[in-house]
């Protein structure tokens, strides 16, 4: 019963912390370029404001356009709830298969791309076609990273991987370094961050994610924004749980361990947010067709990491 409660806590933590993380990154980016920036809690206010507004639907929009935000949000939230954040081995951890998590994010992306095409404008088409191109390279790269981790840990379940990475058998391996770099590159691409996509842009030539959701307003837009915040949190949690697993409580260690795990998790989020803000401020956005080179490099790194493990099981 306690396990179930802790799992439920994780689901709410993930949901509640996501807008705060987004606001924190935004504030840091502003500070780094010398502006004051919006308040930390601004994303919560933005979501509340969007919820209060009416939804303006295009005349050509169908039921899929109205249903997509819910499915996108649900799939992303479920995926994020399965990733161990402050504790592993929770009640539904055996469903936390990494390939399933990647595929859940794929479902969300599928529905969002369809919603982009639904209204029948050229902006939606731009967003959907570019998003699917990025996905066609980012998803295999992510899967190769999953392969590398699973070959090392002997399982595709995140709890086992996290437990393995905390244990002594892991060592400093080249494949892990390559997998980390590849995962970071994929995370940047999937979360529509600079240098792949600009989350704050208003120019259609530079849009991918923003173009797909251009027609959304009101509560639908609130759900989609919340889903994108949760997705960022998910990727940071995965990187933290796999490559920086110290401090994650194991199930059954008691309340104090969970609390300590929460504090460490908050610290990881803060550190990752800082790194992301610095990285985004330091880089410029790439041309769309350079993104394929970027993600192709991530894919090659993933393949190389898997190859090295396959061949020697040591590197």
């Amino acid at each position: 019963m306690l396990d179930l409660f802790v799992q439920f806590c994780q689901m709410t933590v993930v949901l509640a912390a996501a807008p705060l993380l987004a606001g924190y990154v935004r504030k840091l980016k502003a500070l780094l370029v010398g502006r004051r920036g919006p308040p930390l809690l601004q994303p919560y206010r933005d979501l509340a404001r969007l919820l209060r507004k009416e939804v303006v639907l295009a005349e050509s929009a169908s039921w899929l356009f109205r249903a997509a935000p819910y499915i996108v949000f649900a799939a992303t939230w479920v995926a994020a709830a399965l990733v161990p954040t402050f504790a592993t081995g929770l009640a539904f951890s055996y469903a936390a298969d990494m390939i399933a998590i990647v595929a859940l994010l794929g479902s969300a992306r599928f529905m969002l791309a369809l919603a982009g095409l639904d209204v029948g404008t050229s902006f939606g088409g731009i967003g959907s076609s570019r998003e699917m191109m990025i996905a066609s390279l980012a998803e295999p790269a992510m899967l190769m990273v999953v392969f590398t981790l699973s070959l090392l840990a002997g399982s595709t379940q995140l709890s086992y991987i996290a437990a393995f990475m905390q244990g002594p058998a892991v060592g400093l391996r080249v494949s892990l370094g390559m997998a980390l770099v590849a995962l970071v590159m994929v995370a940047i691409a999937e979360n529509a961050r600079i240098p792949v996509d600009n989350p704050a842009t208003h120019l259609e030539l530079t849009m991918v994610h923003e173009a797909m959701i251009l027609e959304y307003s009101g509560r639908h837009l609130a759900l989609i924004e919340l889903a994108s915040f949760v997705k960022l949190l998910l990727y940071i949690s995965v990187i933290g749980c796999v490559f920086a697993p110290w401090g994650i409580a194991v199930a059954g260690q008691g309340f104090a361990a969970y609390l300590a795990g929460l504090v460490v998790y908050a610290g990881k989020l803060a550190a990752a947010g800082l790194l992301l803000a610095v990285f985004e401020t330091a880089m410029a956005k790439m041309r769309v067709f350079r993104v394929s080179d970027f993600l192709g490099a991530a894919f090659m790194l993933g393949v190389l990491a898997t190859l090295l493990l396959f061949v020697s099981r040591l590197a």
């Binding site: 649900a74 479920v78 791309a113 095409l117 639904d118 088409g125 066609s136 609130a222 396959f310 061949v311």
Partner: protein
């Protein structure tokens, strides 16, 4: 008992073919023929299920006094055959149900009605055949009846050429299988499969048989580079026949390959697995990339079949590699993944073709550039097509994801393989599998999005009307099965266990006793997947969100023009077309694989002609394999043609020369 009943169903189908021929002038012929085939195939499905689930699944061999006089016709139903009987007849039953409604659109029923039941009967005969002659006879019957169906609308542009190419490739495949069975039967001519099993061939012959089986079965299934006929022939046939050819006949080809490679050949060598997996991987990626470049909906679906067959052969190759290295558990996993994917594919590909048929019937268009906005006009069809698209893109909680997941787990078991080439090949094939899965998602966003979403791009699309209830029923049955196989995969894996046991010598642990209906392919500590739980969570999360939103948010919805950044364009031609949707992917992958080049011709300033964008692509397998062979054949044929026009003295010289040559051979032999 089961086998006899199955043979009765097959006989009923053959009789229906005759009935179709007789009744073709009557208006009720369509309904009668399809109703009988529906009943017969439904009966066959239940017989197959009963045979599969029974504790002693092998029945036979039954020898009938037809066919070759000293051989008879052997029939046998074992676990493998029973599984494929279920797959084939389930697809056929759904198709018959669909055709009850769709068949009314048929403009030339006399060309379709007699051959449709014959096609079904031939496919079933292949599955129960237990000797080489019956197998090859049924295989040829299958090819011929499907060719007749492809040529049903032979006056339409391109269909005759498609049928010709199909006949050529089918003949090539049968020739390869003929040689394969010849080598298997050996000099003593032991055609029954039992005799072949007793006398496995030596390593060299076995290698030749495997390559021949790969060519023969692979050309029917659609492996690159033998796939060229598939995207031409499958769309040329009437839609329900396309669904059968893509969803079901390709599975018969898979059955043929599995029967030869896993059953009749005995112990495999390790490099067989490498070859099959590599061919499968290349097929998967090439197939989906071709599909992405299409704007004809049915050709897109046909190329997508090529991709999925590639995935099945990846699994089969892995299973062969594991078996050669005596790892039966891993072989069982790979084989389960492959066969489950074959089953899943027959479900969702039939569903997608049915949807394409409805669109074709409602709008008269196959070209996606003239469709759009059909989700408003054909809402139920759109929902079913959406389920099929999500399933084929391997998205949880549908069934496509389960078989892909199992295949990934099999790849993750591969580092234990000792051979170096396998050690490098398997992660490469894994990368190809991951790439093809991601590209399939893009392909079906395009297929569903351009066809059903957006605004209608032509008048016909704007006036489409929803189809009849039989077609809808067939689609929804298949969609429901896709969801069921995704949520409760454990039962399907357990049903496959006797097949896997007979072929690989081991099977996956029994799934139905696990908590919450999880599936665990190897061990609990290793990996597990729970489709039901994911589905439940997603539904719960979505309902929670909906509930919370409805309580706390504004509920107002206002319809207005699209925002479109303030420049809404009333012309639906400004939407993305299928070519423009796939342009980024074409730039990334196509410039290498298809030599895709884009050319923009801008008019001079002041010139009022429009700018032109031209995309040039080359079909590399066609240019490398088919065109040279066609040229060589043409060259040789032209040279040999002079033999038709010799004088009498010339012919006499030929006869004399042949006689002298034979006498010399006889003398040399002494």
């Amino acid at each position: 008992m089961v086998l006899e009943a199955l043979l009765v169903c097959i006989a009923a189908l053959l009789a229906t073919a005759g009935l179709g021929l007789a009744l073709v002038r009557r208006r009720a012929a369509t309904v009668v023929v399809y109703a009988i085939t529906l009943l017969a195939t439904a009966a066959a499905t239940s017989l197959g299920v009963a045979a599969l689930l029974s504790p002693a699944p092998t029945v036979g061999p039954l020898v009938l006094p037809v066919g070759l006089p000293w051989l008879g016709a052997h029939f046998k139903l074992d676990a493998l055959g029973a599984f494929f009987v279920v797959v084939i007849n389930l697809g056929a039953a759904a198709t018959s149900l669909y055709a009850l409604g769709y068949g009314r659109h048929e403009e030339a029923p006399g060309r379709v009605l007699p051959f449709f039941p014959a096609f079904l009967a031939a496919m079933n005969l292949v599955l129960v055949a237990a000797d080489a002659f019956t197998f090859l006879f049924s295989w040829e019957l299958m090819s011929l009846s499907s060719w007749a169906l492809v040529m049903a609308h032979h006056r339409r542009a391109g269909n005759a050429a498609a049928g010709y190419l199909y006949l050529l490739m089918a003949s090539l495949g049968t020739l390869a299988l003929l040689f394969a069975f010849g080598l298997l039967s050996g000099p003593s001519g032991g055609y029954p499969f039992d005799a072949i099993r007793q006398a496995p061939p030596s390593a060299a012959y076995a290698a030749a048989v495997l390559v021949l089986a790969l060519i023969g079965a692979g050309s029917k299934a659609g492996l690159v580079p033998l796939h060229a006929w598939l995207p031409l022939a499958h769309p040329a046939a009437p839609t329900h026949v396309s669904a059968l050819m893509s969803g079901v006949m390709t599975k018969v080809a898979v059955y043929g390959f599995v029967r030869i490679a896993f059953d009749l050949l005995g112990a495999p060598s390790w490099w067989w697995g490498a070859l099959v997996a590599l061919v499968g991987g290349i097929t998967a990626v090439m197939g989906v990339l071709y599909a992405l470049m299409q704007s004809d909906l049915k050709r897109l679906l046909a190329y997508s079949t090529v991709e999925n067959i590639g995935i099945v052969f990846i699994g089969l190759g892995l299973a062969l590699a594991f078996e050669a290295n005596e790892m039966p558990g891993a072989a069982a996993l790979a084989l389960t993944a492959a066969l489950l994917h074959a089953f899943n594919h027959s479900l969702f590909k039939s569903l997608l073709f049915f949807g394409a048929g409805v669109v074709l019937g409602a709008t008269g268009e196959r070209d996606m550039e003239r469709l759009g906005g059909l989700i408003h006009r054909l809402p139920r069809t759109a929902l079913a097509f959406l389920v099929g698209s999500a399933a084929i893109s391997a998205l949880p909680p549908f069934n496509g994801f389960v078989s892909e997941w199992l295949m990934f787990q099999a790849i993750l078991l591969s580092p234990a393989l000792p051979q170096w080439l396998l050690k490098f090949l398997v992660p490469a094939v894994g990368a190809l599998l991951a790439l093809s899965a991601a590209l399939a998602g893009a392909c079906f966003v395009k297929a569903f999005g351009i066809t059903f979403l957006g605004r209608p791009r032509s008048a016909m699309a704007a006036q489409a009307v929803e189809t009849d209830r039989f077609s809808l029923a067939a689609m929804f049955v298949l969609a429901f099965l896709c969801l069921l196989a995704g949520i409760l995969p454990g039962y399907f894996i357990d049903a496959l266990a006797p097949v896997i046991q007979s072929l690989a010598g081991a099977h996956l642990p029994r799934q139905e006793s696990l908590d919450w209906l999880t599936i665990v392919p190897i061990a609990q500590s290793r990996s597990s997947y729970n489709g039901l739980l994911l589905f439940f969570f997603i539904a719960l999360a979505a309902s929670l969100a909906a509930e919370a939103i409805h309580r706390s948010a504004s509920r107002v919805v206002r319809r207005s023009a699209a925002w479109d950044c303030g420049f809404p364009d009333p012309n639906p031609a400004t939407q993305y077309t299928p070519g423009s949707f796939s342009q980024p992917i074409r730039r990334v992958f196509g410039s290498v694989l298809f030599r895709a080049r884009e050319e923009v011709r801008m008019p001079a300033p002041g010139d009022a002609t429009p700018a032109r964008l031209q995309v040039r692509m080359r079909d590399v397998p066609w240019d490398v394999f088919y065109a040279p062979i066609a040229r060589i054949v043409g060259f040789v044929a032209e040279r040999l043609n002079t033999l038709q026009f010799l004088t009498i003295r010339g012919y006499l010289t030929l006869v004399f020369g042949a006689l002298v040559a034979l006498l010399m051979v006889l003398a040399a032999w002494q």
